[in-house]
């Protein structure tokens, strides 16, 4: 059974290249695969032992579910009966009706009430608005994370694997982008793309935030390309593309996944900062950062208009950061020993 | 094969083999000719300098408590070389770190470690620190990482002097230079200003040895001092270690997994398995009159020059047990050809297999000393009946 496990993952290769079976390093490559698979179990085990990461995952899932089911996505209606756009009469002066203090402590018990997060000055339901904003912020953050990671992985992997002038050119491009303050380039890019809608905004922000990840991927690839199992693959004539995608990238997956999560956390904050500066999401769209800008003068009179979006930004960024930390520990046991 | 210590014993060739396996034959032969051997060095006195009693070390981890060291007792006399032998994970390094107080804070250490009658484990940290590096010093396994990369060699050596005595820095540097001379580093005065990365591995280990003896210690703990070095350098370093031991009259606690190293260097041997001693005795007792199947297995897995042509090495089958959930009974039982129900039921205590005064002809300088040989095996008598214990595993534990 052990032997079966050993050969099955690499069997297509072995069939194509009879020599591979005999090459001394080939067993190394297979060993790597076994290690990789048991490593997945190890990673999962370590991740689930990381309490903060688990908590972060549940929180993030909760926020995502809440944001997308409550007010619905696009044409699909949600379970919350009020629309983010509809104005209405002020209920209790627009104060939040959400109550968390149980009755025996003198509160009103656990209740949502008419407008759990309160209303703004024209009577819009603030829960619906916050949920709509959270949706947009989440979509943009994930788009940024995905786009940045794809670009970073391709550029980092090519630079690290091909070396020579490819590396020089790609890394100089990275240096050029790094020299521009992130907020300046992001603001300019967002200003150009912001009018076109949130999807363009997410993609454009992704195109300017990949630089650090690309450097990380490159250095991971640089060390991997010298490993025996890559030499072995090369010696039997495997194509570069295949080596990169089949042998090298799977081994950098830890670096990449951790970068994605941290990039998403940073993107939540970046988008909200841009929207706050009026450079990001443009009306009629709204986002958590946009809400804070729109209602920042209400801090003295209707502070809840300021608190709710801020709390949700923190909640999202914090839980994604926790997940990222858990993943880092899970993928890098050395770090794990040092940390927890 | 003969059991008489007067004729060249087979394990000296084992030493050759394991120390110089990749070197050319002539180079190895030379290193043996020039090598200082234990017989040339000053023998131990009757005075006990270090005594370890029931030392245990545990590490709490996520998966459970790791019992890294269990109930280790031994004593070390002045100028004696005692070797602790075992596989990696047998607790030999951890037990020596425990003496020095260098384990991480999470370690739970119990037992007694008496240095000239004072217990290191209960004394105040300040007092213990004043012994560390002055009376008991240490040579670590990997000289590449054991020296601080950002300070010069001279500073790092002088620091060891300044930590324990109030002398002007100049004088400490002068002492450092003397020590570098002593360990055979050419142009010592200039080298004081060098950084560790400018030295080769062997040279760095010499620096570590210089650091260990700079305060004239009584005990040098050498934790696998040659493992990380090129085979060609190993013999030189061991020779140097013996030489400086005599220069400062220190005893050496030599921790190693290499039985070849032990053979040429140690007066006595303590074999550890799964965190506990399984055989203790004079070096030739342990090598020729082996009373523990595990030791026999270790000896049998050393390549021998005198072995029959085409003879295969016999590694011990299986792996050492996890130190988290030790099986009841003898920890070696799962791998032992002699194991039976008794072995699996109860862990054998470390018991005396013989005790006799050393006769004048065995070790002249030791004549009259009491000589013990302890083994933790229920069936050590069965091994006693075997002619050559190293062949024990080769015939599957059957009596010949």
């Amino acid at each position: 059974m052990n032997d079966h496990d050993r050969t099955s993952p690499e069997s297509p290769d072995a069939e194509h290249d009879p020599g591979a079976q005999e090459a001394p390093s080939s067993s190394e490559a297979q060993g790597m695969n076994i290690a990789a698979r048991t490593q997945w179990q190890l990673v999962r085990g370590r991740f689930f032992r990381h309490k903060a990461a688990l908590l972060g995952m549940f929180l993030l899932l909760g926020v995502v579910l809440l944001a997308f089911t409550s007010v619905g996505i696009g044409p699909l209606p949600g379970w919350w009966d009020k629309s983010p756009m509809a104005t209405g009469p002020l209920h209790e002066g627009g104060r939040p009706t959400l109550s968390l203090v149980p009755e025996f402590l003198g509160g009103a018990g656990l209740a949502l009430g008419e407008h759990p997060f309160g209303q703004d000055n024209v009577g819009k339901d603030y829960f619906a608005l916050t949920m709509r904003g959270a949706q947009v912020s989440l979509i943009i953050a994930f788009l940024v994370g995905i786009v940045a990671t794809i670009v970073a992985t391709v550029i980092g992997a090519c630079a690290g694997y091909f070396r020579g002038w490819t590396e020089t050119v790609l890394m100089r491009i990275t240096d050029v982008l790094i020299a521009i303050p992130l907020l300046a380039i992001a603001a300019a890019a967002a200003k150009i793309a912001g009018q076109a809608g949130i999807f363009y905004l997410g993609i454009v922000l992704g195109l300017v935030t990949w630089t650090q990840t690309a450097r990380l991927v490159r250095s991971a690839v640089l060390s991997l390309r010298e490993k025996e199992f890559v030499e072995a693959a090369r010696s039997v004539g495997t194509s570069s593309v295949r080596i990169i995608f089949k042998h090298i990238l799977p081994n950098t997956v830890g670096v990449i996944i951790v970068s994605v999560t941290l990039a998403i956390a940073a993107a939540v904050l970046l988008e909200s900062a841009l929207s706050f500066l009026n450079m990001g999401v443009q009306p009629p769209d709204t986002s958590l950062g946009r809400l804070i800008t729109d209602y920042r003068s209400a801090m003295g009179t209707r502070p809840w208009l300021f608190y709710w979006p801020g709390l949700f930004i923190i909640l999202i960024a914090l839980s994604v950061n926790f997940i990222g930390d858990g993943l880092r520990d899970a993928f890098d046991p050395r770090q794990n020993r040092v940390r927890d | 094969m003969t059991q008489s210590p007067q004729t060249p014993p087979p394990f000296e060739s084992a030493l050759l083999e394991s120390v110089g396996a990749n070197a050319s034959v002539t180079a190895t032969a030379e290193s043996v000719h020039t090598a200082k051997t234990l017989a040339d060095s000053k023998g131990p006195t009757e005075n006990e300098v270090l005594r370890v009693e029931n030392l245990s070390v545990e590490f709490p981890t996520d998966d459970g408590v790791v019992k890294a060291v269990r109930d280790v007792s031994y004593s070390l006399r002045e100028r004696e070389v005692l070797s602790i032998v075992g596989e990696s994970g047998s607790g030999k390094s951890v037990s020596s770190m425990a003496l020095m107080g260098l384990l991480p804070r999470s370690a739970r250490v119990s037992g007694r470690v008496l240095y000239r009658g004072k217990d290191l484990l209960t004394m105040r940290e300040k007092e213990r620190r004043s012994l560390r590096g002055r009376r008991i010093s240490m040579v670590f396994q990997d000289p590449m990482t054991a020296l601080n990369p950002v300070h010069t060699i001279g500073d790092q050596l002088a620091e060891a002097v300044l930590a324990h005595s109030l002398v002007p820095p100049k004088q400490a540097l002068e002492r450092a230079r003397e020590m570098l001379d002593l360990v055979g580093i050419p142009q010592a005065a200039q080298r004081l200003r060098s950084y560790p990365h400018e030295f080769s591995g062997g040279m760095r280990q010499r620096v570590m040895i210089a650091m260990a003896i700079i305060n004239n210690p009584d005990v040098i703990i050498a934790d696998e001092p040659t493992t990380a070095l090129d085979v060609t350098v190993q013999a030189q370093i061991l020779e140097k270690l013996l030489e400086v031991k005599d220069a400062v009259n220190a005893a050496i606690l030599l921790i190693t997994h290499d039985l070849g190293v032990v053979a040429g260097l140690a007066h006595r041997v303590l074999v550890m398995y799964a965190g506990t001693p399984v055989e203790v005795g004079e070096t030739d007792d342990v090598f020729y009159r082996t009373r523990m199947p595990y030791t026999a297995g270790l000896l049998g897995s050393i390549p021998s020059m005198t072995g029959a042509h085409g003879e295969r090495l016999r590694p011990i089958q299986g792996t050492p047990p996890s130190l988290i959930n030790l099986p009841s009974g003898c920890p070696f039982a799962p791998r032992c050809p002699l194991a039976d129900a008794t072995c699996r039921a109860s862990e054998p205590p470390l018991a005396l297999t013989n005790g006799e005064r050393v006769s004048n002809q065995d070790l002249p300088q030791d004549a009259g000393r009491y000589r013990e040989h302890l083994s933790a095996c229920h069936h050590w008598e069965r091994l006693a009946a075997v002619e050559d214990p190293t062949t024990f595993f080769r015939n599957g534990g059957q009596n010949p």
Binding site: I180, L277, M299 | L102, S137, T145, N148
Partner: protein, 503 residues
């Protein structure tokens, strides 16, 4: 080494050039620079538009405009903005405002962050460590503009209201004392008794101080007074010499104590000078302090301890000077507070317009304006430094050479300062140098929240008006800083690590 720096410099310049091009192209495309003119009445429109097209060279392609800009920039002329103002002048004002803001904040964040990170690493898994780790995560996740608005509400508006009747509610005293006690007890190593003692000791002292502050309405007219000055100078002396050479009385400690006494005595002798000094006098006093303290250290040190004695004396002297400085400022607080209608903590801008006062009062005015934005900046960047120095320190503490240092019998303090810290500092310094380059570009949001007309203002107005000149001015400074400090980081690394220095 020189070759290394030279090559690095050439590459950096090339990178900077390329990035100015990227930025210019982006800046030239952020919008329609004529948008505001298109709404003018028909007859004015043509002329106004023609004038602006002429001024901004809008008739030329972007590339040509870039090279025109570049030619000017290389000769030190950054052009004019859309309204025809000289960007060089705008930039000079903006830089000085931004520097005021970020230098203090970054230096404080670095010092505090590294200190917390190291303590937290040395007390790994303690309550303190867990709180710091969690706190760093929260700080990482804070939107700085949100924090800024909160600070304005509670740090300025509510705080100024409170200053009118500065008594502290009992509940707050209890809570703060308990927290301080918990913090100290979690830092202690030892059995339960030591921890309890630390808890009640630290908590008790805090409670007494707070009660005293509340009872005397200290905040209405604050000041330290001679006793507190003398005590903190002596305490600082002992603390510094314990850090440098251990808790035993020694020559360096005597030198430090002497420096503290001399400093305290001089603070009274110099009262006439300190009544209304200027910056030059203060700097002169600082230099004198250093010289006198070197003398004290030299005299006390003897042959064996000279270097340590000089170090402790100088640090103690500077610390004592700092305490005296703070005391003087606090003494002017009441009169300053009256002159700004009892609202000393400000939320907008860098200084009260047209404010006249003594040196201490204008200093307080700056502090009052800097306090909140600095706090916001610190809060966010503190986390980075804490996390990084903690990780770096933990990494180093597990190194073999630290074990070697312990095996030599060095005291734990020496092991940490000379071996662990010295090595842990290498990556930290690199990060700090790199980070310092990004702070100018990173303060944009904070400046906006607190209404500072600084670098961020240049960038944002430029973006909103589709006006490349101010954007590029912002970028030349902030991007230049990134490139320069990246290089500084490399050089610092090479300097600190002999393995690189010598190869």
């Amino acid at each position: 080494m020189l070759v290394f720096i030279a090559r690095r410099l050439v590459v950096s310049l090339f990178v900077l050039f390329a990035s100015t091009f990227v930025m210019f192209v982006l800046a030239a495309n952020v919008g329609d620079p004529l948008a505001d003119l298109r709404e003018l009445p028909e007859n004015d429109r043509e002329a106004a538009m023609a004038e602006r097209i002429e001024r901004m060279n809008l008739d030329l392609p972007v590339i040509a405009r870039y090279f025109l800009w570049l030619r000017g920039a290389l000769t030190g002329d950054l052009g004019v903005n859309r309204q025809g103002q000289d960007v060089n002048i705008l930039l000079t004002d903006a830089i000085s405002a931004t520097m005021q803001l970020v230098v203090a904040a970054t230096v404080l964040a670095i010092v505090i962050g590294i200190a917390i990170g190291i303590i937290s690493a040395l007390r790994q898994y303690s309550g303190f460590d867990h709180v710091v780790t969690f706190g760093a995560f929260v700080a990482f996740s804070l939107p700085i503009f949100w924090v800024g608005v909160l600070l304005k509400q509670f740090g300025a508006i509510e705080f100024n209201n409170w200053l009118a009747r500065p008594t502290i509610p009992t509940l707050v005293i209890v809570l703060v004392s308990v927290l301080v006690g918990l913090a100290w007890s979690s830092l202690m190593v030892g059995d339960r008794r030591t921890r309890l003692l630390a808890f009640f000791g630290a908590g008790g002292v805090t409670a007494v101080i707070l009660l005293w502050i509340s009872a005397t309405t200290w905040f209405a007219d604050p000041g330290l007074g001679p006793v507190v000055i003398a005590l903190s100078a002596l305490g600082g002396a002992v603390g510094i010499s314990v850090l440098v050479c251990g808790p035993k009385p020694s020559r360096p400690m005597y030198a430090a104590l002497t420096a503290a006494v001399v400093g305290t005595v001089l603070s009274f002798v110099l009262t006439p000078v300190l009544a209304d000094p200027n910056l030059l006098i203060i700097l002169g006093l600082a230099v004198t302090t250093v010289i006198v303290c070197v003398g004290i250290g030299y005299g006390f040190g003897g042959v064996l301890h000279r270097r340590n004695a000089i170090a402790t004396a100088v640090w103690t002297g500077l610390f004592t000077g700092g305490v005296i400085f703070v005391d003087r400022m606090l003494q002017s607080f009441a009169s300053y507070s009256r002159s700004v209608q009892g609202r000393p903590i400000s939320t907008v801008g860098a200084a009260t317009p047209n404010y006249q006062g003594t040196f201490w009062e204008t200093s307080l005015d700056s502090v009052g304006h800097l306090a909140l934005p600095t706090l916001a900046l610190i809060l966010v960047s503190l986390a980075t430094y804490t996390r990084y120095s903690r990780a770096s320190m933990l990494e180093v503490m597990n190194q073999d050479y630290v074990r070697t240092a312990r095996a030599k019998g060095l005291p734990e303090r020496t092991v940490i300062t000379r071996h662990a810290f010295r090595n842990g500092l290498i990556p930290i310094t690199t990060l700090v140098a790199y980070d310092f380059g990004t702070v100018i570009g990173g303060a944009v949001v904070t400046e906006t929240v607190f209404g500072w007309r600084a670098m961020g203002h240049l960038l944002l107005t430029g973006l909103n008006e589709a006006d490349p000149a101010p954007i590029m001015a912002f970028f030349v400074v902030s991007g230049g800083a990134i490139v320069v400090f990246n290089m500084v980081a490399d050089i610092a690394y090479a300097y600190l690590d002999p393995r690189i220095r010598l190869s």
